[in-house]
């Protein structure tokens, strides 16, 4: 009998550990920001404006990554910015995941009119350009942390819905689902105890990816000044400010950009890594 056992090599856990390590650093920074940040992220000191990072000539001790044009410490702002990034990632990620996955499961398993309604809704939703949609939405409901999260959930649930629906459709064709029907399970029970465990690895990988996307969207909204109030440091806001002085002080732009990049990359890799590591079928 031909089967796939052993055909899938378990990949080295390096990406799981590296991405996990970076995310742990970001999480610690977010939780303990007031304790570990060397300076007040909002304190301006024009005498110390545009100090370069520590290895360049003219650097001041205590300002490791330099300061921006208002003399605020870049490192401290990065650390405090992790708070907003993580809150948005967690709340918006879980929100999109719950709504999108539930609708996707229902559409893929129950089919019929539920599927027709949900699928049409997804099609219509996806026809809007997402960022424009977010900007319009926030213009209507006002700026602020809650608005950013609501906007991400409202826009991105379709990503979960589509993928989870397709995977559920696949699984529903399998004989183990028919077998559950023969065993007399209710449809709800079949969906939750038979199909969901098989769709869960996909959901977890997608959730991690979605958290990364939420961080990007928040940064973009900060960049166009539609996110949180300006006195709260955010990575997107820092990038926007850094852009104005890129020729005089590149570090104000580059460090938040790198942080953002690493975080988004880590979220995506972490999800894939988890899937490889803990999926009993691939193992």
């Amino acid at each position: 009998m031909l089967d796939g056992r052993g055909a899938v090599k378990r990949r080295a856990g390096a990406r799981l550990w590296l991405s996990g390590l970076w995310l742990a650093i970001v999480a610690l920074a977010a939780v303990f920001a007031p304790l570990i940040a060397p300076h007040d992220p909002l304190m301006q000191d024009l005498l110390y404006g545009r100090l370069p990072p520590f290895w360049m000539a003219g650097a001041e001790p205590g300002y490791l990554l330099g300061t921006d044009s208002l003399g605020r410490d870049v490192l401290s702002r990065l650390i405090h910015g992790a708070r907003i990034a993580l809150i948005v990632a967690l709340v918006a990620g879980i929100g999109t995941c719950l709504i999108g996955s539930t609708l996707g499961l229902i559409a893929g398993y129950y089919r019929g009119w539920a599927d027709r309604i949900i699928s049409r809704l997804v099609d219509i939703w996806m026809a809007f350009p997402p960022i424009l949609f977010a900007i319009l939405l926030i213009a209507v409901i006002g700026t602020g942390l809650t608005s950013v999260i609501v906007a991400i959930v409202v826009i991105d649930w379709t990503r979960f819905c589509r993928v989870v629906r397709a995977e559920t459709l696949n699984q529903s064709q399998m004989d183990y689902v028919h077998s559950a029907r023969i065993a007399g399970f209710t449809r709800m029970k079949t969906m939750l105890s038979e199909i969901l465990p098989n769709v869960l690895p996909t959901i977890v990988a997608l959730l991690s990816l979605e958290m990364g996307i939420a961080v990007i969207v928040e940064a973009i909204l900060s960049f166009v000044n539609l996110s949180i109030s300006t006195d709260q440091p955010t990575w997107g806001g820092m990038i926007a400010e850094g852009r104005l002085s890129i020729h005089q002080a590149w570090w104000v732009l580059v460090f938040p950009l790198i942080t953002l990049f690493l975080t988004v990359l880590s979220f995506a890799q972490f999800g894939e890594g988890l899937k490889d590591r803990f999926d009993p079928v691939l193992r």
């Binding site: 009998m1 004989d175 183990y176 023969i182 065993a183 007399g184 038979e194 465990p197 009993p280």
Partner: protein, 263 residues
């Protein structure tokens, strides 16, 4: 009439043929089973034989109410089950089981063998019936903690059998369950099924394309060809006096051990 557990009358099954669906309008109907009538005696083994694609699996799935019949009546133990809704069917489900042809797809890849067997019983994996079912099919009890992908094809097939018999059903449809097994495992599974029929008063519909297996186990045989019954006979008569040309072809294709043959 004698004591029939399951009576099937004028059964027809059609599916929508999506490959030939016109751009507008409904897809044409593809007839898979047509005018199928037979009955299964209590405590007997009915063999269902036929070539690949003759509709055996479809018939088996219709008997357990997985496939909706287009026309005809299914009467199980005196009750018309043709039109029963899922909810109305539920109390009967325990009594009618199916062992699937493809053992990989039939076992949930993310549940352990123990849970796969225990779930239809609504029991915990530690339930003695789980261990007993594994014993019955000749699998070590330690397999309860394994996942389906850690088993060989033949072992998975036995898990499917264990799951069905653990429920102590009245009627089992077994769809080509020995095709993936080696000869000695085949003999073991066939003996097991024969004993269950004897000891538990089980009634069995045994689907196979292998007439030598049918001969060992079955009391009566129906032969399917292109969705129609072309032969319905007690097993002894089938082998001595086949009435249909197709049956004769099938019989001729059984490899008979011939000691006089020179190599």
């Amino acid at each position: 009439m004698t004591d029939a557990l399951y009576r099937i009358e004028g059964l027809r099954v059609e599916v929508a043929d999506q490959t030939r669906k016109p751009l507008f309008g409904a897809a044409p109907r593809l007839r898979i089973l047509d005018d199928i009538s037979f009955s299964i005696e209590r405590r007997s083994v009915l063999g269902i034989v036929g070539g690949s694609g003759s509709g055996k699996t479809t018939l088996g799935r219709t008997l357990v109410r997985l496939v909706e019949p287009t026309a005809g009546t299914l009467i199980f133990d005196g009750q018309d089950v043709t039109q029963l809704s899922d909810d109305a069917m539920r109390p009967l489900r325990q009594r009618i089981q199916l062992i699937f042809q493809d053992p990989m797809s039939a076992l949930n890849p993310r549940l352990t063998i123990g849970r796969i067997i225990a779930a239809p019983l609504r029991a915990k994996t530690s339930d003695p019936r789980v261990a007993a079912a594994l014993d019955n099919v000749g699998l070590p009890r330690g397999f309860a903690g394994r996942y389906p992908h850690e088993l060989s094809g033949g072992q998975r097939q036995r898990v499917g059998i264990a799951r069905a018999i653990a429920l102590r059903p009245d009627f089992i449809v077994a769809d080509e369950i020995v095709s993936g097994l080696d000869v000695s495992s085949q003999a073991q599974v066939l003996t097991l099924l024969a004993n269950l029929v004897k000891d538990l008063g089980l009634t069995l519909a045994f689907i196979s394309h292998d007439l030598s297996v049918i001969r060992r186990l079955c009391d009566r045989v129906i032969v399917l060809q292109k969705g129609k019954i072309v032969e319905d006979q007690p097993v002894a008569d089938l082998f001595t006096s086949p009435s249909h040309e197709y049956t004769r072809q099938l019989l001729n294709s059984i490899p008979e051990p011939d000691p006089s043959q020179r190599w």
